[in-house]
Symmetry: C2
Subunit: 721 residues, 2 copies
């Protein structure tokens, strides 16, 4: 069917100088629309979505159209009303395309005429909270989103709207808005040409409205940047923002968000300019980018790395991503992902996906595979490794050794998070933000996002001298990425990744290296995680090394007698995120003995332990129990617990060796508790002159020896029981 | 069918001086067993349970029998092993009864012989943590539970065990254990005769073993107390521990726990001594007690009042309760409750319930009704009111104005908790305990249960002069209960309860009164809760009134500018639970103006606000944000938030008037936030000389006036819009 479409488009191109306007093409092809009209009843899944949308828009269409003068920030009335408006125009357009009921045309026509009356009267939005304010919305970003959906709506009904109305709408809304998005402010122009999700939305908005208005210049600017020189625009974003593995550099939360304009614009390009072979570009990079989305989630929820809120694979953006990807590729994997979503697109792509979903319905679920996704346009800016074991709610360990990730990146080099039994065990805080809640910094990222959530100490990685990576400078961070030294994840029972970061603490002369391994010690038992966190200091100056473990649930036991501050608490520090941590306990663990420390915590029905040791010539271990929440005047932070180990000394080599385990059962309903104590002990770690590290520990009385040799830049890892 | 059984038993009685032993009767009748053997295949539900149990016991029976010398506390190896043993004997007994496979007899026989070798060698358990230590277990309670299950197991296979083994087992285990439970220590004797769940377990253990060994004396002691004078024992417990409405005085958590021995012993009594008409006693009090269980739960989970952990309606204890109740009464309500459970009993009661469950399978769910359950044997010791609205995950407001509830009671007079959208909104802390986790106070209640969880300030009720009700004395508290002044819960859109407590703060000369109402202001909208918390001081001395709101989720806004302690925290007080609260903010709200305060918080997708005002002649309001966790050396407490209002003055009448609302939507997936701001404002409350209280507020611009007149000991409540 796609072949047919391409031929048809070829014909259209041959007959017009610019782009054809006789048919709607932005969201579906004429053939596609024909398919949907005639065959929609063959899919109950498609019809469920269609009827839901139709019922929703039919209820709305009865009510008066409201196009208020912009006034409120995100979450406020005018903001939400303009959001509803584009959503409803979009719904009306798609339902018109299928039903051909003129009432939807009238609705869109009238609403757009209202916008045509309002828009020319607007200067910048009164809430000046953003560096890129819009006119309808407080951020230009929202304006772009408005134009993306409205372009599709307009394209569906365009030929039915009286020509004089079309002229008014295009002149008073679409052209000025496209201009505004491209260069309404200097920042807007920068963003439009930028390699960033805001840029993708802006390009897509201008590209889509360009196609439907038949304006090649607008489309070219969207594709190649304002100067049409290829130094900005959508095609360059395709090159720069994804790694060869399809990982989007801002991380999963924004990959989910950006994939929607990427796929909507690509779909339109595919219809109007098939010769660009947009979906085949860079070895089908867009399809790869869609395909890795589920790999970046645990139990449907995206990992919280970088600025991230809790978003799932059933987010609306992904309906479009999965359905379009399926229609383009006919790869059942995409239809499989789509099965977790409540809806399909109201287009031939959605219908094709729905039919494939029915075909796959009886299939058995397949366990997710471990992946190591490179970052950077060349795939050379580190990677994120996702090590999994067992069922979809089994163990999942996420090791982040990526580039910074643009403006939403966190200073979290070589950090990790851990999931098991459906829960987040060792956590990534994500972002400090209450989306669109007006009383919380107007719904934007709160101050604490920068002062806490982005800082190194807010992550499960080593903090040197109580400072953040790259001194907390995004600019500095943007130039560097960790190096992946070693990856072996083919055997689920023994998965190993090693990464080095030579830059995050370069100003202190410290190089970080971390080895993480997921090993099944006893067949049938849950795997353990081995973590060797190393720091090489070039100098022999005194350094402080802090290794925090951000955990969920409730503390059950510590191997040391915690020295608590029973009735007075103070903040741990004054900056770099330390000012936001209450110091609840501070225990200097005496030297000598086996240098073993551990803590155990409980989440729902399972116990988790982190057992740690250090090299014998390291200073004494100081253990602190911390709680997030100090210096937080609006109580924006969640009061989560942290167990942090600190060593201070002049040695030029530091090493924290840990084993993370799941054990026991806390069965309240069955009134049965077993295995609440750590199953690992007698940890010993040593390092030889040639860099060989030997880490031994007992796992339920079984001796495990993990050896890592580091010769000629190759890492060789052995372990035996 | 029940009639037939009774006739059969009558014959047996006529033929023996004591109780017949030829047949198994403790858990099922001979006719019942016949039914199960022949008709079990007619129920897939029953067979699923049967096959699961059979598979479990068949796997166990292959392994060596382990009867270790007692050593460990709850959660430890020997404790859990002896628990497993009684469970497996019980399973083996029931499966034998159906399959007649002798391997199960051998298993029980051999295990009991091992116990017969061990038990005589034991003195008191080495872990002396309880005031009633056992011999096999650290608590006699566990010993009683062991004997309950073992009695049933033994009864199933008794006639197949060689006579000489029976003699050894009875002589070395059953008799000495029954003696030990009854009077092994002075405390055991006290407990055996006590009105308390430990007593019920003890009586049931001795009663069941008495029946199966044919020892009338033991049975009589179990039924009538050690002196067989009716001043103790099971029958008196039936009179004393339940209210006429079936509410168990210790609260839902222990009602769930105690109902199992009550029903197991009653079932046996019904088989052996049908003339006692045990299930008809006190207007079928046992059936009533089973029937109210679901009324004391929200979304299957029992309310956390008094000492309580998170237990659900699918707890194993309730399988027996619902199935036996159904078999006795044939009331489909019990089979309906049983449908939420994973299993049925392996008896004719379970089979009958399973068949009824199949019959009911297509039924539509019925919304739960509001109830007001009296407390106390005469129903005159206050009540717990459960006000519900809408679906099972809709609004549920629990107002606790009960008697103290024995040793597990909390000092929480007139407190409440609130649920909505499937979540706990205003919380009851429940108990501080990690069940059977050895590192946490050996799995018992932790110290903080007494020093925090039981204290008044740990609940959503008024605290006078920073002391707990009855000065925290259980002994004092046991003599008194609140009075229910007014109940009208028949109209779901307007439910009102008023209660007075004249005793909790009698030593300070203060009487408490609280009016709570669940009102639907706008049809189709969620109801609001109105709360008038009143205190009458007889003197004109200075009193401090603290009204804490224990909430879930995250703070979104306060109507006042919180004065936080940014980088230093201290404990709020030194005793009565105040020592466990960190003072995070302390804001003196200026007098004058409308005296309105509110705070808003977010739980998952919904916003909740508490709007409060006071009488105009009360002192200024001080608002404190607190967090649980100070002076908690083992970090046993959960760091939950509390918003507390304080007024201090000499007035002889104090009144806090609040409105609790649910509003808005925080839809992260749909990226839509609406209605995050409180929908209530302009609160005004006034009191006239005759005690009439007028509470006015605006609800979305609609004026609500709530008037309460208090004449001639009658409460008359009006509200109009």
């Amino acid at each position: 069917m796609r072949t047919k479409v391409i031929i048809l488009l070829g014909v259209l191109f041959a007959s017009t100088a610019v782009y054809a306007q006789q048919d709607t093409m932005l969201f579906d092809t004429p053939n596609g629309v024909y398919e949907v009209i005639n065959h929609r009843f063959s899919s109950a899944i498609f019809m469920r979505s269609f009827m839901r949308v139709q019922a929703e828009i039919d209820a709305v269409i009865e009510k008066p159209i409201l196009v208020p003068v912009p006034k409120d920030p995100g979450g406020g009335y005018t903001h939400e009303q303009h959001k509803s408006n584009y959503k409803h125009m979009y719904q009306a357009g798609l339902v018109y395309q299928i039903t051909k009921d003129k009432k939807y045309v009238t609705y869109i026509d009238h609403m757009l005429l209202d916008y045509a009356a309002l828009y020319p009267t607007l200067s910048l939005h009164p809430v000046k909270a953003s560096s890129e304010p819009g006119r309808l919305f407080w951020q230009t970003l929202n304006e772009s989103v408005w134009l993306v959906y409205t372009s599709i709506a307009y394209d569906c009904v365009r030929e039915q709207i009286p020509a004089k109305d079309r002229a008014i709408i295009q002149k008073n809304v679409f052209y000025p808005m496209a201009e505004f998005i491209m260069q309404g402010t200097p920042n807007n122009k920068k963003t439009f040409n930028k390699m960033h999700n805001h840029g993708t939305w802006a390009d897509t908005a201008v590209g889509l409205i360009g196609y439907t208005m038949g304006d090649k210049t607008l489309v070219d600017k969207a594709l190649y940047g304002t100067e049409r020189d290829g130094k900005g625009g959508f095609l360059l974003q395709l090159q720069k923002l994804f790694s060869p593995d399809g990982y989007y550099t801002e991380g999963p939360y924004y990959q989910r968000y950006a994939i929607l304009p990427f796929m909507l614009f690509a779909q339109a390009i595919n219809h109007y300019q098939p010769d660009l072979h947009i979906f085949q570009q860079r070895d089908s990079i867009l399809l790869k980018a869609v395909k890795v989305l589920p790999a970046l989630a645990y139990k449907q929820q995206f990992f919280l790395m970088n600025d991230a809120l809790e978003k799932t694979l059933s987010s609306a953006e992904l309906v479009a991503a999965f359905d379009i990807a399926y229609a383009v590729s006919k790869d059942p994997a995409f239809a499989r992902f789509a099965m977790k979503q409540p809806d399909v697109l109201l287009s031939s792509a959605g219908l094709a996906t729905a039919l494939e979903m029915s075909r796959l319905a009886g299939e058995k679920a397949v366990a997710q595979q471990s992946v190591c996704l490179s970052d950077g346009p060349e795939g050379k800016q580190g990677a994120v490794a996702v090590l999994r074991h067992g069922a979809s709610d089994g163990v999942c360990f996420v090791f982040k050794a990526t580039s910074h990730g643009l403006s939403h990146g966190h200073f979290d080099k070589l950090s990790y998070s851990l999931f098991n039994h459906g829960e987040q065990i060792l956590t990534d805080y994500g972002a400090a933000r209450f989306l669109n809640v007006a009383s919380k910094s107007g719904g934007r990222y709160t101050t604490e996002n920068k002062t806490y959530a982005k800082q190194t100490v807010a992550h499960n990685t080593l903090v040197v001298d109580q400072t953040s990576n790259f001194d907390g400078s995004k600019k500095k961070a943007s130039h560097f990425a960790p190096h992946i030294d070693y990856v072996d994840i083919t055997n689920p029972e023994s998965q190993i990744v090693v990464a080095t970061d030579s830059n995050a603490y370069a100003s202190l002369g410290v190089i970080l290296k971390r080895t993480v391994a997921m090993l099944t010690i006893e067949k049938g038992e849950e795997p353990v995680i081995i973590d060797l966190m190393m720091a090489d200091a070039k100098d022999h100056k005194m350094h402080t090394y802090d290794l925090p473990f951000h955990y969920s649930g409730q503390l059950i036991a510590t191997s040391f007698d915690q020295k608590l501050y029973p009735d007075h608490l103070s903040a741990l520090g004054t900056d770099n995120g330390y000012q936001h941590l209450w110091k609840e306990s501070d225990t200097l663990i005496k030297e000598g003995g086996n240098r073993n420390v551990h803590f155990t915590f409980l989440i729902k029905k399972h116990f988790y332990s982190v057992n740690t040791t250090t090299l014998s010539d390291m200073g004494p271990i100081e253990a602190m129990h911390l709680r997030i929440g100090a210096n937080d005047p609006s109580m924006n932070l969640r009061p989560e617990p942290v167990l942090m180990y600190r060593v201070q000394n002049k040695a030029n080599h530091q090493l924290f060796a840990s084993v993370l385990t799941t054990h026991g059962l806390y069965d309240l309903v069955g009134e049965k508790t077993t295995g609440s104590q750590s199953i690992v002990n007698d940890l010993q770690v040593s390092e030889e002159m040639d860099g060989t590290i030997t880490f031994k520990f007992k796992y339920k009385n079984k001796l495990v020896v993990f050896t890592q040799t580091n010769k000629e830049n190759h890492v060789k890892i052995n372990y035996h029981l």
